[in-house]
């Protein structure tokens, strides 16, 4: 910055910039989410439910980003936390009479338990947190491929338990249907906004900073006294909490919960969203989830036949998922850091340092 200004002004400018930049990186994300939701409202009520699913997916992707983004470790297992959250909310909000007949094998304390949906969602988050805390001391020692496989194994275990254990759910392979779908789009949006603020605060917390240091240099960070495993456990647990909440919201949005919803397909979907946007920034998670959902909705409508003026456009069934798969693969091939390049949104009209530049705060 070779400008012809005095040193004092430079300093104040920089300080101001350094104060405002993070605030802007949060505010802009909130604005994007509100804008997209409001924009969607203009299309009338037909798109409401799709938007609500998009926002729930956004929360899941942000949960994933809290862990993957900060630690740089891959997780194929976050849908396990989503599923226990959804399960909890399903068990706690299902109409008691319905519960008696649908879930006959339930443990007594579960068959009588019930809670208002907001409380149930919170408990779902706590269950996600506890599950994450239990498995974290083992999983968090692993890196790269091993971490991927171990988290996938966790998903496999949780999925089988939810599928077959009738003490905590329906008979094997069946679903919990008839959940209350009181949650409206406005409330879902508030949850999404709160999640983003929470993730932003986490990102600026000490454990997350230490983890990002370890992510960038796996040798130097431990050598400087960072206990990487401990920091990972903390962030993993927080991420599990958010994923559990998201699972609860999913249950209330979908109205039906069954174990086979929460397996490889859902994992693929959410990971694809994260990779599309860029795993290393919160901005990436938000953009990825929204853009992916947009493509998804567009293609779904095209499959059902979209009328533009006098012509109806149709694409063959199944091409939706093909395009989504293609998007992920092409993204990894040509822009592996995602649409955002893994960076937060910076104040517009200001030149960005080129990628790879080390920005120091002095």
């Amino acid at each position: 910055m070779m400008m012809n200004t005095g040193k004092d002004t430079m300093d104040t400018r920089n300080t101001l910039r350094w104060r405002l930049a993070p605030a802007w990186s949060l505010l802009s994300l909130l604005l994007i989410v509100v804008a997209v939701t409001e924009l969607n409202n203009m299309f009338g009520s037909s798109m409401q439910s799709q938007m609500q699913f998009a926002l729930v997916n956004l929360i899941i992707v942000v949960a994933l980003q809290i862990f993957v983004g900060n630690s740089g470790v891959l997780s194929f297992g976050h849908i396990a936390f989503v599923s226990v959250g959804a399960w909890t909310v399903g068990l706690l909000t299902l109409d008691p009479a319905l519960k008696q007949s649908l879930l006959s094998g339930l443990y007594p304390f579960l068959s009588t338990a019930s809670a208002p949906w907001l409380v149930a969602v919170f408990i779902g988050g706590v269950v996600g947190l506890v599950l994450a805390l239990v498995v974290a001391p083992i999983l968090m020692r692993l890196n790269g491929l091993q971490a991927g496989i171990a988290t996938f194994a966790l998903l496999g275990v949780v999925n089988q338990v939810l599928t077959y254990w009738s003490g905590i759910g329906p008979q094997s392979g069946q679903s919990m249907a008839g959940l209350p779908t009181d949650l409206n789009l406005q409330e879902t949006m508030l949850f999404a906004l709160a999640t983003i603020v929470f993730a932003w605060l986490i990102q600026r917390s000490r454990p997350a900073r230490l983890l990002r240091a370890a992510r960038e240099d796996g040798v130097a960070a431990p050598a400087s006294g960072i206990n990487v495993v401990t920091q990972r456990v903390i962030i993993f647990a927080i991420s599990g909490f958010v994923a559990g909440i998201a699972g609860g919201l999913f249950a209330l949005t979908n109205g039906v919960v069954s174990a086979n919803l929460f397996f490889v397909d859902f994992t693929f979907l959410t990971l694809a969203m994260l990779v599309l946007g860029g795993a290393f920034s919160l901005f990436g998670a938000v953009v990825g989830a929204l853009v992916f959902s947009l493509i998804n909705v567009l293609l779904t409508n095209l499959e059902n036949g979209l009328t533009v003026g006098s012509t109806t456009l149709t694409i063959p069934n199944g091409s939706r998922t093909i395009v989504l798969g293609l998007v992920l693969v092409l993204m990894l091939m040509y822009k592996p850091r995602g649409l955002t390049g893994g960076r937060e949104l910076a104040w517009p009209l200001r030149k960005q340092p080129p990628p790879g530049t080390i920005v120091t705060n002095d």
Partner: protein, 294 residues
Amino acid sequence: MNQLIQSLLDAISQGAILGLAALAIGLVFGVIRLANFAMAEIITGAGYALVLTWQWGWYVAIPTAIVAAVLLSLLMEILVFSHLRKGGPATLLIASFGLSFLIQQVYSVVFGNDVRTAPVASNLAQTWDIGSLRVQSLSIVSIVLTAIMLAILLWFLRKTSLGLQLQAAAMDFTTARLIGIPAKRVIAVSFAVSGILAAAVAFVLTVQSGAVGPTFGVNITVLALVGAVIGGIDKLVGSLVGGFLVGFATSMLSTWLPQDVSNFRDAFVFVLVIIVLAFKPAGLFIQGRGVVRT
């Protein structure tokens, strides 16, 4: 006693097939650090080839299946993975995950969601009574087929120049390139060989079920991948034995677990996997803690 021998035989044959599948994954991983989840679609593709061409005789169907598997495998490398060299194993795993999903959808559009059936080598799927022992002839066939494939592979790796180059590349790719081993050729060979192994796996699975759908190869690939990683995906022996152990354990658990918990068989296997990874992250058959190449 008889039941024990029978279950052992089943477990060994299941392990053999999973070992082959895991070897197919490990072979490619050793060279370009790709744990190819889309191996599932190579197996499925070979399965479709077998089922759809079986009416013209095995001498048409089997070569078609092998060619289809090798082509699919090479195409994946040329169209996708060769553009991803810079990513680490985790990125490559996600990419192969996405590719797997993509090809599955293509299959279901092209061949439909319903399974395609044909009595592929149905005379192999009989039961023989030897004394009081009931033996699935397919178990013997899988064991023999695996043994033959391993023998050929061993000969190829030890006695041919291409095989030696492949081994060198699997041991240390950078050094192998430095001493003049043609990288592209070695990579192509590893994909081709892994395609052939996948075709063998597809053959056994198709004889077993006679029906192929879009997700035909997914289950075995998940288990094979898991097996390869816990055995030590960096070493060919590690992948092979890891795959074998997972297959063996799965089969034994489904025979011997009491009825009311046998539903949780895969959960037990996955718990074992997590435990193994916790203590031996580099793999069971890698000496010491090993260097986890990430």
